[in-house]
């Protein structure tokens, strides 16, 4: 087991290094690259040459990359072109917001998706099943930013159930500990802040959960249908086991494997969707940061860091998912 983990981690590192190298080389060789972004298009050749030298862009690309990696390892990702702040600070400010949103969305997607998928499979061909299927199809066909605007329009403008944007009400005097506002409120016993943050969180989380929810429902349903036909389920029924036991131990547990894989893969959908959802609700996380870093002149150091961070999170989650197979299903020998 340990050897497997070590090998997978090494693979992961290789993938990430390759990705970083690709991005590094690309970003430096394209028109409108970092120098242009810093100086603008009308800079004099002299100033440009000076900056190129100062940034070390006159050196061979391999040397540049080596220096870059050296700095990355020591935790220095450079400074943001737009604000001048260290990239690590800029990202650290935005990261908790996105994670809070993504985790909330995942809780909704899994919490609703698995039971719904199970019920749809149990009552296959009935009204509930057909409605569920239709819902999931709609869920994957709707542009989620449009859904976000719709929900926002109806639930915050027409009836004021939820706040239209932001993570917390202005004027809420909350103490920041971890940056996860809901958690912070609990830690500092400012329960009103927690409640307020949660209230702001619901609508964006529901919007973001749409696609993962739809996918999880469909996979769960298909997986449960497969398991329902297995011999051991029939055997369990024939033995007269209680339905609850069959459902929990025989059906759900065996149907879980594809579902868990899907949950891992849906982290990607969450990270992608967060960019859109954050823009709709003015959330101020990594998604907002990435759009701002592109549209307000290309802020390459920030972009590069976010991309690598997103890849790291995505790959790590999927590694954890793969490793969790061994615990969920003893038949799986991790190779």
């Amino acid at each position: 087991m340990l050897r497997v983990i070590v090998r997978r981690l090494l693979q992961l590192v290789v993938t990430l290094i390759a990705l970083s190298a690709l991005i590094f080389v690309w970003l430096r060789n394209l028109p409108g690259g970092p120098v242009e972004a810093l100086l603008g298009e009308r800079a004099t050749p002299e100033r440009r040459a000076l900056l190129i030298k100062a940034l070390g862009y006159d050196q061979p690309i391999l040397v540049q990359y080596g220096k870059f990696m050296q700095r990355v390892i020591t935790g220095d990702l450079g400074n943001s072109i737009r604000s001048g702040d260290p990239v690590t600070d800029v990202i650290a400010r935005a990261f908790p917001a996105t994670i809070e949103l993504a985790v909330a969305a995942m809780i909704i997607a899994v919490g609703l998706g698995v039971p719904l998928g199970y019920l749809a499979a149990r009552y296959r061909g009935r009204l509930l099943d057909n409605l569920t299927i239709a819902g999931t199809l709609l869920g994957i066909s709707i542009p989620i930013f449009f859904l976000g605007y719709l929900l926002k329009d109806v639930l915050t403008q027409d009836i004021h159930w939820f706040p239209p944007s932001g993570r917390i009400s202005t004027g809420m005097d909350n103490t920041t500990v971890t940056g996860f506002y809901v958690l912070d409120g609990l830690l500092t016993r400012e329960f009103d802040a927690s409640a307020d943050a949660l209230w702001h969180l619901i609508l964006p989380a529901v919007t973001l959960a749409t696609i993962p929810l739809a996918v999880i429902v469909r996979i769960t349903r298909a997986s449960v249908l497969d398991v329902l036909n297995e011999d051991y389920v029939r055997t369990a029924e024939a033995k007269g086991l209680r339905h609850r036991t069959i459902r929990g131990r025989h059906i759900l547990r065996n149907a879980l494997l594809p579902v868990v894989t899907t949950i891992g893969l849906q982290t990607g959908a969450l990270l992608s969707g967060a960019v859109l959802t954050e823009k709709v609700y003015n959330w101020g996380g990594l998604g907002t940061l990435i759009t701002d870093s592109i549209s307000g002149g290309r802020d390459y150091p920030v972009l590069q860091a976010i991309i690598l961070l997103a890849a790291l999170v995505f790959v790590l989650v999927n590694l954890l998912v793969d490793l969790s197979y061994a615990f969920i299903d003893p038949r799986v020998r991790v190779r």
Binding site: A18, R124, L137, F146, L276, K279
Partner: protein, 368 residues
């Protein structure tokens, strides 16, 4: 598990099976192809006796299938009967018909857009611009059933012409992604060895980034966005998916009977790859392409929404209309968002339905 033929549902092809043994399947697989996700064999309501009967019937079928398959592999490398069979299954599936009708209508509207649309999509009309202000965009009037867009152009004509541009973006993105992906996958699957390792590592790198983020990264790398950066970015996202799909399918076929048969008959290796392995793998690719189309137009809309889309203000494309004007004027005139959004949803739904029905038709086990 030791003897796979004693398991129920053995008529369902396992992942390694070639699609070619479909036609000889028992009637259970052909029955009631209604619901997506429906499991074709061994319905839970079946009595054990029915099940046993079916599984015994299968054993004979199975042998016959193998023989049929061998015969077909040697005589008919293109696998025509597979397509004919899949088509028959498709025609009986209401889901497929709904999907096909939507897709067909969409393509027809796109082709005949200039004939259907009453006006030029880029022409500004005096009667529309006259009433145009920052917080009021004229709704339906005589001659302009959907009213105006923010620049005083006929919104209905832009919606009709939008089908063209949307089809263009979707088809091109899908085709580019498919071509590159198939090329990568075929090379990896055909050569194996270190070529395979290197190419699959490359797809790993691409898959390490969530799809929209990869598209955003690609757009950010271009100095300025255009329709082509959007198409290219959306296309690249699907490359690793096509590549992995084709490679997996080709690796599975390497071990399959029809390739073995061809090899035994002395068919050249190159022809085995080109005429036996590739055509049989392409079905899965075509299905994936249908599904990719839906994703492509949704991703293109998302890029427009993020301000990374096509900057051409004259272009009428649904994703662009929804992502730019729809977003900006949502409070003023929500129809500017509703109509393109509805069009995108319906078309994406159509392609998804058709794609999933095709997948079912080809592989009844794979019903999700």
């Amino acid at each position: 598990m030791s003897d796979p033929t004693t398991r129920p549902g053995v008529g369902k092809p396992r992942t390694g099976d070639t699609p070619t043994d479909q036609p000889a399947e028992g009637p259970a697989a052909d029955g009631q192809p209604g619901q997506p996700g429906e499991n074709p064999t061994g319905q839970p309501g079946d009595s054990p006796a029915q099940r046993r009967e079916r599984s015994i019937g299968r054993l004979g079928d199975r042998k016959r299938a193998r023989l049929d398959e061998l015969a077909r592999a040697t005589a008919d490398p293109g696998g025509v009967s597979l397509y004919r069979d899949a088509l028959r299954r498709l025609r009986r599936n209401p889901v497929a018909i709904v999907g096909a009708v939507i897709v067909g209508l969409f393509v027809l509207v796109a082709i005949f857009a200039p004939l259907i649309a009453p006006h030029d999509p880029v022409q500004r009309f005096d009667e529309l611009t006259r009433d145009l202000t920052v917080d009021s965009i004229p709704g339906a009037t005589a001659g302009h059933p959907f009213g105006s867009d923010p620049l005083g152009r006929d919104f209905f004509s832009r919606m009709i012409h939008g089908s063209r541009q949307t089809l263009f973006v979707g088809v091109l993105a899908t085709l580019i992604g498919l071509t590159l992906g198939v090329l990568l996958g075929a090379v990896a699957g055909a050569f194996g060895g270190w070529v395979d390792v290197v190419l699959m590592r490359l797809t790993d790198v691409m898959l390490a980034l969530p799809s929209l983020l990869l598209a955003i990264t690609l757009v950010a790398m271009a100095s300025r966005s255009s329709q082509w950066t959007v198409i290219f970015a959306v296309a690249i996202v699907s490359v690793p998916i096509f590549a992995r799909l084709l490679r997996g399918s080709m690796l599975a076929q390497r071990e399959s009977d029809h390739v073995l048969a061809a090899r035994a008959l002395g068919v050249k290796e190159r022809n085995i790859v080109l005429r036996h392995m590739l055509p049989n793998s392409l079905t899965a690719v075509i299905v994936q392409a249908t599904l990719t189309f839906a994703v492509a137009i949704l991703d293109a809309a998302a890029l427009s929404f993020l301000g990374l889309g096509d900057p051409d203000i004259n272009r009428a494309e649904w994703g662009l209309m929804l992502g730019v004007d729809g977003q900006r004027y949502f409070e003023v005139r929500p129809e500017l968002a509703y109509y393109p959004a509805l069009a995108i949803i319906v078309v994406a739904l159509g392609f998804t339905l058709l794609g999933e029905a095709m997948r079912e038709a080809i592989d009844p086990k794979n019903r999700r």
